[in-house]
Symmetry: C2
Subunit: 397 residues, 2 copies
Amino acid sequence: MEYRISDKMANLKPSAIREIFKSLSDPTMISFAAGNPSPLSFPAEALGEISADIFKNESTVALQYGITEGYPKLRAAVAERLKAKFAIGRDFDETIITTGGQQGIELACKALCNEGDVVICENPSFIGALNAFRSNGAELVGVDLKDDGIDTDKLEEVLKNTPNAKLLYLIPTFHNPAGITSTLENRKRVYELAKKYSIVILEDNPYGELRFAGEDVPTIKSFDTEGLVIYCSSFSKILSAGMRVGFVCGPNEVVQKMVVAKQVEDVHTNNFFQMLCWRFMNDCDMDGHVEGIRALYRQKCGLMLSEMDKHFSKKVKFTRPEGGLFLWCTLPDGCDSAPFVKEALARKVAVVPGTAFNADTEAKSDSFRLNYSTPSDEDIVKGIEILGKLTVEMFGE
Amino acid sequence: MEYRISDKMANLKPSAIREIFKSLSDPTMISFAAGNPSPLSFPAEALGEISADIFKNESTVALQYGITEGYPKLRAAVAERLKAKFAIGRDFDETIITTGGQQGIELACKALCNEGDVVICENPSFIGALNAFRSNGAELVGVDLKDDGIDTDKLEEVLKNTPNAKLLYLIPTFHNPAGITSTLENRKRVYELAKKYSIVILEDNPYGELRFAGEDVPTIKSFDTEGLVIYCSSFSKILSAGMRVGFVCGPNEVVQKMVVAKQVEDVHTNNFFQMLCWRFMNDCDMDGHVEGIRALYRQKCGLMLSEMDKHFSKKVKFTRPEGGLFLWCTLPDGCDSAPFVKEALARKVAVVPGTAFNADTEAKSDSFRLNYSTPSDEDIVKGIEILGKLTVEMFGE
């Protein structure tokens, strides 16, 4: 049988990150490649206690079909938290639960884009989102990131020349992979451009709660007076990644279409973990718990940076993040990072090459991504020394 | 802001069943409308015990990101059970875990269909699947069901005249909504046609384990020597619907593309329930548990049928299912079922009109669907009496 694969899927390769993730079965490999939250960030004991209570007293609801929009108590609690902590949500907005933040991104594209329509994104950007857009047959146009956020002059050029651009995908806070948090001025300019060119912004904010230094910058959604912004986030980085519970807050008219699309993708997000999230928000100290995760990542990021300061060639540049899970390293003189990443892997340290995050899959990259949330402190020290030596060998002190 | 919704989603209405499901908050309403398994079919106590053990001993795996293809132990156990009980799975096949059976259906379409391609389905068919195909921009062509299964003469006509038909979607066993189980001869003829016209069959079998009378008929997948069949099923009807764990067994080449599509939809299915399913399969008596569900539905279906025999107008025809969750009723003389369904709702009995299951959304239907797994015995007796009286009022004894 010769299978006729759809055009949109025929050329879509599995994410390099997931492939690396699978290859990490080698126990001697030190991995800075994953995007996993630290297992220490899961409040396993509290979740176990709530879980026992749900099985004892509410098992029928937990195990039966639920509503596509989400478990009503969790929806209300999420909407309330978004409002109270981030000033997110207006009368025209609706909050729904999704199967991880990933599903919110995919549904937004499905609701808005026909095959051949354009999604504008930062370059580099989150591979999972880029592939979600590709899987819907959308074309990607990448706009370079500058230190203060997406290059707004270039963005306007693209908006002016791309009438079938339907979505502007941004990770303004603790950008994955580039580690940048865009400035308020940049965000306001982006919003004005979106308004001028009538394009919907998809603001992805999975790391927003993980600030361990500096001051919060208001989300774009918080000043969305026109209903231009779909905001996506999740519990993956603050409660558990494996339970697959995320949420979307966006203009009702678009969110209703996302609900219909969700209904035919997975009917609803598993009830049990929606109930668990709600109970944790209601019964436990969510803010205190998040504060603990921040302290953990402050320490791990600090350790990685201090080891890099010690061992890395001075010619390699890297970000000094104020939150999130990632560091972004750039090799000197536009040097292609692929051979570096390959040699690092041979020396048993896994990092993700920048090419994995490019809108244009043919383009090269001079950068690579490091994760500090998953590895142990010991592995951070050991792995950074190995990488550092390699940078010195390749580029000098 | 004027939102530009994608063409594929602009015309897709929320499923009538889900809308009815939401309206059932009226506690005086008797619902035969849902497709829910009986809460008595959930082994809540055993699942609670396993759950406690997972939280105690394996919480990190349960709460961390997992592999898109599924929890390895569960994949292996599902593949083994499919092989042992249904003779399903050959060297060219791959088994993966999906977020409910629904996701398997949607991914198959995404992997194979461009916008405008055709999916051939039985008419009527499962609304969730039809909308999944529509949400991918596929066109639907319905082929009428006869008593022995899909009309194979009409099917060949369609196959001959539809070069861009990419998928043939079938529910051969305990069809939803029509209750029919196709004969072995029909299945073999369908398979030969698929081979002749090089089309992939999507065999949806969520109810296959729920036979409470008669003899099993081999699945189409069991005689799939050519790799033509993608087989979808789930744990929703035998362990829990709310946990959203399903599975797919199909030719590796297509399944690999479905994995990539799944990766960008929800990364992976929640780990915890995958572990729970595996543990239940491994530690508990799955076959004995399923036998208990069969006995339950044998009794509930029998009760509904005997009450219908008592109260329904003899002019209304209905199926006598040997398994599954549904009865299909057909009004006399091609009478439109919509006014009947509306009047039943006014009398506080909810059923689903046949129009909800049509490939052609403009077409009328002379039928409606009854579910016997969800309502209590008391409600079955009470609700069928009300419906029966209505049939007699409208069509005579």
